[in-house]
């Protein structure tokens, strides 16, 4: 019997004078000591459903539905009141733990204030309770940490503090909205482990919201899949993983890299927003396994990095007491032409600094980088133009990397004008349109402004803009991290196709092991400015040598390790064991 459920939830928001539905007829329920996962892409209504449970929809929303808690029905309009009066013991944690804490107050005081004002506890007693709670969520030295400010703690620690704060409300159900999305994968595993502890130790039920189907199906007991404002399927994680009933679910799995052999085509979920769910392909066609390209060592070396070093030095006044961040600390690797080298690492490991070295944005302080056998220093000595033509970049922020006041066609053409001045205007325009078609867009997109395009379309424009100058090398720094899984599938498919057609050399940087595993011929693992391990993709993935790589791979949630030939374990156990 369910502890908490929500029935027939409808939420609408007024947009330009019309009510637009955000969720339609949603039914969700979570049992005692259960973790319910809600998974869906952006706009699927997963967050709106949670906010309505907490009474956080905001004054403009029109909501109807019933919440049933412990055998008692509560109208959705009354949940805030019921929660405030303690008859609906829910608490919520959010995606951005650091932003969720008041920056000018200590962690401890933000927890202690609850006891002071709810229970009338003395300040000292409340502080002691706060310290106890911090201890119970696995924060080491809780007394010292209680006196710290949010900016002095890591994201993972802040999320623990947020959980402690939520626990202060003595909730029976904890709603966690993308609680690990902003965190590194090893930290994600630790937070998941903590949440599981809360269930087993404190008897709390959890509603866990995520966009990551792999994470949800490996961590939660039961999963509800949401799509365009409705729940399309609810089943145990096991059942969802083994035999998804709904076509959207199976399509979503097929869109995640790691569920199909490396280099094979990923499922692209139709994007026309008006199509009913039934319009999805009945059964996604089995992918055609493509021969996995070998290391292709016969090819000439396109990128060669030898002992590259880049340190950031923070100089205080009068040159004394310097603080050095070793972003890139003696890295060497080489990439054969026409292959992809994938770099995996967590935030702060120096992978983006490495990218900036490769595009010539910064010069290495020591060591060498050569492109097609020529040293970067020599190439840059003749000016940036020639270098920029051969090495192009696709950045993570598809919106920020574009000029918002200019249509996308001229932005693509701009580089063309610089590098091929002898082409006529008509010819350049033709080139741009051909390139737009090559990335799956068309002439109609030439005169569109960036804000008129979707995220996936913008990232395609970014790829078109990079490729228009016919580069040999494409540096992709987290090219799909800001995109939904189904859009990510489109972009990855595009990159694979372009590499085949144009014989591109790709350096792919990502925090997502699944993406790197799907796209790369060779893989390097970075930690604190050092490449701790590198080699052919299949070897690194199936038999990681360095302890850091092992913990990183083990922490990655995936239900498709078979394709990496990593020994299969119970996934929940793996998450628990992943603590470094």
């Amino acid at each position: 019997m369910a502890l908490l459920s929500i029935r027939d939830l409808d939420v609408q928001y007024p947009v330009a004078g019309q009510l637009v539905p955000a969720v339609r007829g949603v039914n969700l329920s979570v049992g005692e000591r259960e973790i319910l996962g809600i998974v869906g892409e952006s706009g699927s209504g997963k967050t709106v459903s949670c906010l309505s449970l907490m009474g956080l929809l905001g004054p403009r929303a029109e909501a109807s539905g019933t919440v049933r808690y412990d055998g008692r029905d509560i109208d959705i309009a009354n949940v805030t009141q019921e929660r405030r009066q303690g008859r609906l013991p829910l608490a919520m944690i959010f995606q951005d733990p650091t932003g969720g804490l008041n920056p000018i107050r200590t962690i401890g005081s933000q927890i202690a204030e609850i006891f002071v004002h709810r229970d009338g506890a003395s300040k000292k007693a409340a502080w002691e309770k706060a310290v106890e709670l911090l201890d119970s969520v696995g924060i080491r030295e809780p007394r010292e940490r209680a006196a710290s400010y949010p900016h002095q703690m890591s994201g993972g620690m802040n999320q623990r503090a947020m959980i402690a704060m939520a626990l202060a409300a003595s909730p029976r159900v904890l709603i966690a909205d993308e609680p690990t999305t902003a965190l590194d994968v090893t930290v994600q595993a630790q937070i998941c482990k903590l949440l599981r502890t809360l269930v087993e130790r404190d008897g709390i039920s959890i509603i866990f919201v995520s966009h990551d189907l792999d994470l949800v199906t490996s961590f939660c007991d039961r999963v509800s899949v949401m799509y365009r404002g409705s729940v399309v399927e609810t089943a145990t994680s096991e059942a969802i993983r083994r035999s998804p009933k709904h076509r959207y679910t199976s399509a979503l799995f097929a869109a995640i890299p790691g569920h199909r052999p490396p280099f094979s085509e990923l499922e692209e979920i139709p994007q026309d927003l008006d199509a009913p769910v039934s319009a999805l392909p009945a059964n996604p066609p089995e992918p055609q396994p493509r021969p996995v390209p070998s290391g292709r060592t016969d090819r000439p070396i396109a990128i060669k990095v030898e002992d590259a070093v880049y340190h950031f030095t923070k100089r205080r006044w009068f040159g004394r007491s310097t603080h050095v961040t070793k972003a890139v600390d003696g890295i060497s690797f080489s990439v054969p032409a026409g292959t992809t080298f994938g770099i995996i690492g967590e935030s702060g490991c120096g992978k983006s600094t490495l990218a900036s070295l490769l595009i010539g944005d910064r010069e290495p302080q020591a060591g060498n980088i050569s492109i097609g056998g020529q040293s970067m220093r020599e190439l840059l000595a003749h000016g940036r133009r020639d270098y920029a033509r051969r090495v192009q970049m696709v950045a993570q922020d598809h919106y920020g990397s574009m000029d918002r006041r200019q249509t996308v066609g001229p932005q693509i053409e701009e580089a063309c004008r610089i590098h091929f001045p002898d082409r006529s205007a008509a010819q350049r325009r033709e080139d741009v349109i051909r390139m737009l078609q090559a990335v799956g867009l068309g002439e109609a997109h030439y005169a569109k402004f960036p804000h008129q395009l979707s995220g996936g379309q913008r990232q395609r424009v970014a790829i078109a803009r990079a490729l228009i100058v016919e580069p040999d090398i494409l540096i992709c720094d987290e090219p799909t991290s800001a995109l939904d899984v189904s859009i990510q599938a489109q972009v990855l498919n595009l990159l694979l196709r372009l590499q085949r057609d144009l014989d591109l050399t790709i350096l792919l940087i990502s925090h997502d092991i699944r993406v790197v595993a799907h796209m790369s011929h060779a893989i390097g693992v970075m930690q604190a400015g050092v490449m701790v391990e590198q080699g052919p993709a299949s070897e690194v993935l199936s038999n990681p040598q360095h302890p850091y790589s092992r913990s990183l791979f083990a922490a990655a949630p995936t239900s498709a390790r078979a394709n990496w030939s990593v020994p299969a374990h119970d996934h929940r156990l793996q998450l628990r064991d992943a603590i470094s």
Binding site: G99, I104, Y149, Q152
Partner: protein
């Protein structure tokens, strides 16, 4: 931390030195003080005599050096007008100006903060629009015009308040209102936008979920964040108020430093003008230093970095 304070003081010293130098140059290239001091038909010998007496016949670098050295030893020179020590004549006028500016600041920040908070809580609705229109109005109307309007209304038509003079509480009301209200407009806009910004922060959502009384929630989570930017504004508006004081004091015949400055500039009383500018510059630089230190005191993110 101590290093940061030392650097701040060094910066303060440089600011004051620059201001002093600037005034020294301006006053000497904009006309001959000796001629301004004497009647138009004064004989050439008398002018030369005055020049010699005030060192005005020495080369400029020498005048500058003497001046700086004297300043450093606390000697601000003699007022050319009545041969009293300039520092003393100016000091006599300071209390009246401090009273006026202080009252103006209090009005600006209390009225402005209150209106800003009201506007923020009624965002987009009638009270918000009314307050924001008023804020622009009071700030854009020139203070001499505002002052004259008040005089016409309260002194001439209603005969409630004295039109000028002072210093007394009754005399203080109108000039302080002119100074305070025009700055209150800026404060209100600032408080409104910083409050709205804070209210949109995720930590406000999180804090709103806790079982906290409304007053405590506002006092502990909303106000501190929305009041922090006021520190910056305080440093800025002090400058505006000092500049405004010269005009307002003249309009209301308030016996303060501002009116005295206008008077002394007209008379080319070099020593007095220099004294006032040094004092004002020191105070401004000091106010900015205080702003920085207060930031460090109130904002842990600044304190620890």
């Amino acid at each position: 931390m101590t290093r940061a304070v030392l650097i701040a003081f060094a910066r303060l010293f440089i600011t004051v030195l620059l201001a002093v130098t600037f005034v020294f140059i301006i006053l000497r290239v904009s006309g001959d003080p000796a001629r301004a001091l004497l009647p138009l038909d004064a004989p050439e010998e008398q002018i030369e005599a005055v020049r010699a007496e005030w060192d005005l016949d020495k080369p400029l670098p020498q005048q500058y050096l003497t001046y700086i050295l004297k300043l450093a030893s606390g000697d601000f020179g003699l007022s050319m007008n009545d041969r009293q020590p300039a520092l003393q004549v100016v000091a006599e006028k300071i209390p009246a100006t401090v009273l006026l500016m202080g009252t103006g600041l209090v009005i600006a920040f209390t009225v402005g903060s209150a209106l800003g908070l009201i506007a923020a809580s009624f965002r987009g609705r009638a009270p918000d629009r009314l307050i924001m229109s008023l804020a622009i109005f009071v700030h854009s109307i020139p203070s001499f015009l505002f002052g004259i309007l008040l005089i016409l209304l309260f002194a001439v038509a209603l005969r409630l308040l004295p039109s000028g003079g002072g210093p007394s509480p009754l005399h203080l009301l109108m000039p302080a209102a002119v100074i305070g209200l025009s700055q209150a407009g800026v404060v209100a806009r600032f408080v409104r936008s910083s409050t709205l910004e804070v209210l949109a922060q995720p930590y406000i959502t999180v804090a709103g979920l806790k079982p906290l009384p409304r007053w405590y929630f506002i006092r502990a989570h909303v106000l501190p964040g929305s009041a922090l930017p006021l520190l910056t504004l305080f440093g800025f508006s002090l400058g505006g108020i000092i500049a405004g004081a010269a005009i307002v004091e003249s309009v209301f015949a308030w016996p303060g430093v501002g009116r005295f400055l206008v008077f002394s500039v007209a008379r080319r009383d070099v020593a007095v003008v220099q004294t006032i500018v040094v004092l004002v510059a020191t105070m401004m630089a000091f106010a900015n230093l205080m702003t920085d230190l207060l930031y460090a005191f109130f904002d842990p993110r600044v304190r620890t970095s």
